[in-house]
């Protein structure tokens, strides 16, 4: 792992404070992490998955009901053609950004503190993207025709898709992103899967993990190829992190609707995505850390760093909001001006101010080290940020649509029970998947943490 070699002098300032505390040995780390998925399943887990599982069932029911009756079971109307459906889509896609960012970009930047959190973050990414995928698929009026979105050759129609449509770009962007993140995650898992295989006692576990680890033996050649593959995938996913949400933002940016037709959207969306992604990582990791007693591997240092990133991206988001309003005023375009005035003071003002409070003001608390290092505080704020980011998408989509050019066509959107349950259901699905992951796979990249530890010790 030549390319990852750390020069001792960097180490001092970089690994200070240490990223692995409690003087753990390699063995301890393996024991600690593998232990989680080898020990007997605790009752709390069953209870948790019981709850999330039933929420997932609700999601299934809602979707079935939707397909049976039509989009009318949601609150969408004319002029508000998109509402919670696309809001949820963008929300989940946004969440799905932290994982790849942590694994890929921080990896390329040699941010070694990523190692204890990247695995879980990547998993989270996949699950979030899975949730996100549901909405564009089911928001169409005729889901059974949704395959027309893909450029499959059709001998009976001689028709292609409209490649000018951002919605089509989305299809490619999101599917690519999902594929690459999945590969990235799996490749990262290999050494640890092998570890689990070797530690397995039951035949079944041996077989399963044996099959999944694709015959990993940890030989030098394996490691060499592994590092190469990992680096390449990191290189591949880095641009994707930026491209996906950029393209999602095009759905709005290329339209003619005031409040959507904005050039600032790509950076603004990406920042927002990372912002929300890290918030979600904190939410999950804080819980995992507490429940699975991983304080020594997921140290305050890790959490502190994430809080800093949230602070940074949160400020970018806040700045974007400000710029949006300024541009609206500065453009002198009466429609643009009205839209933003209407946001701040119109029927949806409550949503807008919720958004501001959660996304702009709340994260500013992270300027204080006290708060950055207080687990309950950061947990609370991370939740708040998640809520805020959902509202951001709601505000962008609904407030722009409900009052555009011709006042005669103005309307108001009210969600239905189905809207609410569908979204809650998607949260259920997300958590269910994460619980399964936490139960059966090593939620911390053992091998990578060891490398950190190695460096750390080498330093002393």
């Amino acid at each position: 792992m030549a390319d990852l070699a750390i020069r001792p002098q960097d180490m001092q300032q970089e690994l200070n404070p240490p990223l692995v505390t409690g003087g753990l040995s390699y063995r301890d780390i393996t024991e600690k992490v593998s232990g989680i998925c080898e020990s007997k399943t605790p009752r709390s887990w069953y209870i948790a998955i019981g709850v999330t599982g039933s929420l997932t069932a609700v999601l299934g029911l809602m979707l079935a009901y939707l397909v049976a009756n039509g989009i009318g079971v949601w609150g969408n109307n004319s002029p508000v053609g998109w509402a919670w459906d696309i809001t949820n889509f963008v929300f989940w896609i946004g969440i799905g950004h932290a994982g790849t960012l942590i694994s890929a970009i921080l990896f390329l930047f040699r941010q070694r503190w990523r190692t204890s959190i990247n695995r879980a973050a990547e998993a989270m990414t996949l699950f979030a993207v899975a949730c996100a995928g549901i909405f564009p698929l089911f928001h169409v009026g005729r889901p059974w025709r949704a395959y027309w979105l893909f450029p499959v050759p059709n001998t009976d129609l001689n028709m292609w898709q409209n490649f000018r449509s951002p919605l089509l770009w989305d299809v490619f962007a999101v599917s690519t992103y999902a594929t690459v993140s999945a590969l990235f995650w799996y490749v990262g898992l290999l050494p640890d899967l092998a570890t689990l295989r070797d530690r397995a006692r039951s035949k079944l576990r041996q077989w399963v993990f044996g099959f999944l680890s694709l015959g990993w033996r940890g030989s030098a050649r394996h490691w060499k190829h592994y590092e190469a593959a990992y680096l390449i995938l990191a290189g591949l996913s880095t641009p994707l992190v930026l491209s996906v949400h950029t393209i999602v933002s095009f759905d709005f940016a290329v339209s003619v609707i005031p409040g959507w037709h904005t050039t600032i959207f790509p950076p603004y969306f990406v920042a927002g995505a990372i912002f929300s992604g890290f918030a979600m990582v904190i939410t999950l990791m804080v819980i995992a850390r507490q429940v699975l007693r991983l304080e020594n591997l997921i140290t305050l240092k890790h959490l502190d760093n994430m809080c800093k990133i949230i602070l940074a991206t949160g400020s970018i988001v806040g700045y974007s909001y400000a710029v949006e309003f300024f541009t609206a005023f500065f453009s002198g375009n009466p429609y643009e001006r009205f839209t933003f005035l209407n946001r701040a003071t119109g029927p949806y003002a409550w949503a807008v101010w919720t958004m501001f409070t959660c996304n702009v003001f709340a994260p500013q608390l992270f300027w204080f080290k006290k708060i950055r290092t207080s687990v309950p505080a950061m947990f609370a704020i991370s939740i708040v940020v998640n809520i805020g980011m959902w509202f951001e998408r709601f505000v962008i989509i609904v407030t722009s649509l409900h009052r555009d050019y011709l006042p005669a066509s103005w309307g108001y959107f009210r969600p239905t029970v189905v809207d609410v349950l569908t979204f809650t259901g998607s949260i259920g699905l997300f958590l269910t998947l994460f619980l399964l992951f936490a139960r059966f796979l090593p939620i911390i990249a053992v091998s990578e943490v060891k490398s950190v530890l190695h460096a750390q010790n080498a330093g002393h």
């Binding site: 059709n154 001998t155 009976d156």
Partner: protein, 215 residues
């Protein structure tokens, strides 16, 4: 500890993977092939309540299509003729034939004969016979050599792609209007050339936009 899988496992896995891919590919391919209108719809030959032979009437007797399908030049539909039209001749010709039992009953009772539809387009497609016939598109282009059919059979896919072929390049399918019902017509020179001249003369520019056929 020893290996969990024997060495052969590698082969098995590779084989399995290969087989899986193959199966997937095959099923997609098969579906893609069989779901084509060309495969699915062509050759549809339902049994008609009355064994009416176009071969006999249009072929051997050389009756013009328009004797029965007389609305073809005036309407979107080349209507199936009223029983009356059959009886014009069959009061004298084969007045007793058992095969014509239904026709005679229909005429007597004034109730229609339930012919089975052969050439069907979806409701959202508005094909217009008048437009095509007056442009010089022959019956044969879509219906084939009906004058040789004992039972009418669908010979063309009637799919959008198939329609578009001609709409994008009509010349080869055009002929002088007076010849549209002459199914066995053999052009004496390059049909495309003839078609071009007709297009020129009649300013024929078939629509290839949606509302040309979908309304």
């Amino acid at each position: 500890m020893g290996a969990i899988f024997p060495k052969s496992a590698n082969g098995v896995v590779r084989l399995a993977a290969g087989a899986l891919l193959l199966a997937a590919g095959a099923s997609i391919g098969l579906y893609a092939y069989f779901s084509q209108p060309r495969v699915l719809d062509t050759g549809y030959t339902p049994v008609q309540p009355v064994p009416y032979s176009h071969k006999l009437h249009a072929g051997n007797l050389g009756m013009d299509c328009r004797y029965c399908h007389f609305t073809v030049e005036r309407a979107a539909y080349a209507a199936i003729p009223p029983t009356e039209v059959c009886m014009n001749c069959h009061v004298r010709v084969k007045p007793q034939s058992a095969q014509l039992q239904l026709v005679r009953e229909s005429y007597a009772r004034g109730e229609p004969v339930a012919w089975v539809k052969v050439h069907r387009l979806p409701d959202y497609v508005y094909f217009n016979h008048q437009a095509h016939v007056s442009a010089g598109v022959s019956c044969v282009s879509c219906h084939g050599r009906v004058d040789q059919m004992l039972e009418v059979k669908q010979v063309q896919p009637l799919s959008m792609a198939w329609c578009l072929e001609c709409h994008r390049n009509p010349a080869p399918h055009l002929r002088p209007v007076e010849l549209v019902t002459k199914l066995d017509w053999k052009p004496d020179r390059d049909p495309t050339q003839i078609g071009r001249e007709i297009m020129e003369a009649k300013h024929i520019a078939p629509p290839v936009n949606c509302s040309g056929c979908h309304r």
